[in-house]
């Protein structure tokens, strides 16, 4: 399975819906998407990972890179994920402390710091 990406806007948030597998082969596509959004002025991102089947450290690296980029513009990057096997990867790497992780897109969109 390849990576699928789609974006939509809700208020001042941009939702990036990701599906499929994020690994060393597909992660560059996600990175390009995040870079493009930030370059176009979208600084408040919500990455919806409910459709993600697989995530590895390359994918984590891309998400961290995205966070770094939006923070440079005082933006935010929130994740939506309920899948235990994906959440586990964030936990063992300590990244649950870095990313706000929400159980739904609505919750992520409504969240403020």
């Amino acid at each position: 399975m390849d990576l699928s990406l789609s974006t939509r806007t809700v208020g001042d948030r941009t939702i990036v819906e990701v599906g499929g597998e994020i690994d060393v082969y597909t992660a560059p596509k996600l990175r390009e998407q995040l870079v493009e959004l930030v370059n176009d002025g979208s600084y408040h991102l919500v990455v919806d990972m409910e459709g993600v089947d697989f995530l590895d450290s390359t994918g984590l690296g891309v998400l961290v890179g995205g966070l770094k980029r939006v923070r440079a513009h005082e933006g935010s990057l929130r994740l939506v994920c309920n899948q235990e096997r994906i959440l586990k990867i964030f936990r063992i790497t300590g990244l649950t402390k870095v990313f706000p992780i929400h159980s739904s897109v609505d919750e992520a969109v409504a969240a403020t710091d």
Binding site: D23, V24, F54, S57, T58, L60, V62, G65, I92
Partner: protein
């Protein structure tokens, strides 16, 4: 003991294939279904790291994966051809020096492969440096702007797998991981 060996060109698109093969062999070996996700992730991380090392060193040799089914455990070894160096696992496990572990690993390989290979002959097909025309095929190094130095993969592996060893053999680095198995699935 049964072994499945996989050699693949050090390209990102083949890492998924390695994950799929490893998961299939692990399932057959009797690794618990609940642990298969961990096997898939761990072998993917190890292969990703090996691919990154091959690309950054301009190596045209393949990455080697051995899937070894023992009576009570299932082991995966992922070998690269990157120049030896000492590895430190997050958590403090330090790989042995190149010379010491190289010798140990060579004899282990010899035993494991039975008569099919010369002792210590390993699984490698050719020395990258000697392959004619190799220079033309050297890919650009992976852009690592966001991914750090690739050691995040080791952090994930050591967080996932209880029994993991990062060492070196005569070819390069080896990540060795194992999981307990239940009764093997009979045909």
């Amino acid at each position: 003991m049964a072994t499945v060996e996989l050699l693949f060109s050090a390209l990102p698109e083949h890492v998924r294939t390695a994950r799929l093969v490893a998961a299939a062999v692990a399932r057959r070996a009797g690794v618990d279904e609940a642990v298969l996700d961990e096997v898939r992730l761990a072998v993917g991380e190890a292969c990703t790291r090996a691919v990154g090392l091959h690309m950054s060193h301009g190596l045209s040799t393949p990455v080697r994966v051995s899937l070894i089914e023992d009576e009570k455990k299932f082991s995966i070894e992922v070998g690269d051809d990157a120049p030896h160096r000492r590895f430190t696992l997050p958590g403090g496990t330090l790989g042995a020096t190149a010379s010491a572990s190289g010798a140990a690993s060579a004899s282990a390989n010899g035993g494991r492969n039975g008569g099919g290979h010369a002792p210590g002959g390993g699984l490698i097909e050719a020395d990258g440096a000697l392959m004619p025309g190799a220079k033309d095929e050297i890919p650009e190094p992976v852009a690592e702007e966001d991914e750090g130095d690739g050691e995040m993969g080791l952090a994930v592996i050591s967080g996932l797998v209880d029994d993991v060893e990062v060492t070196t053999d005569e070819n390069g680095g080896v990540i060795r991981m194992s999981w307990p198995t239940a009764e093997p699935i009979l045909p």
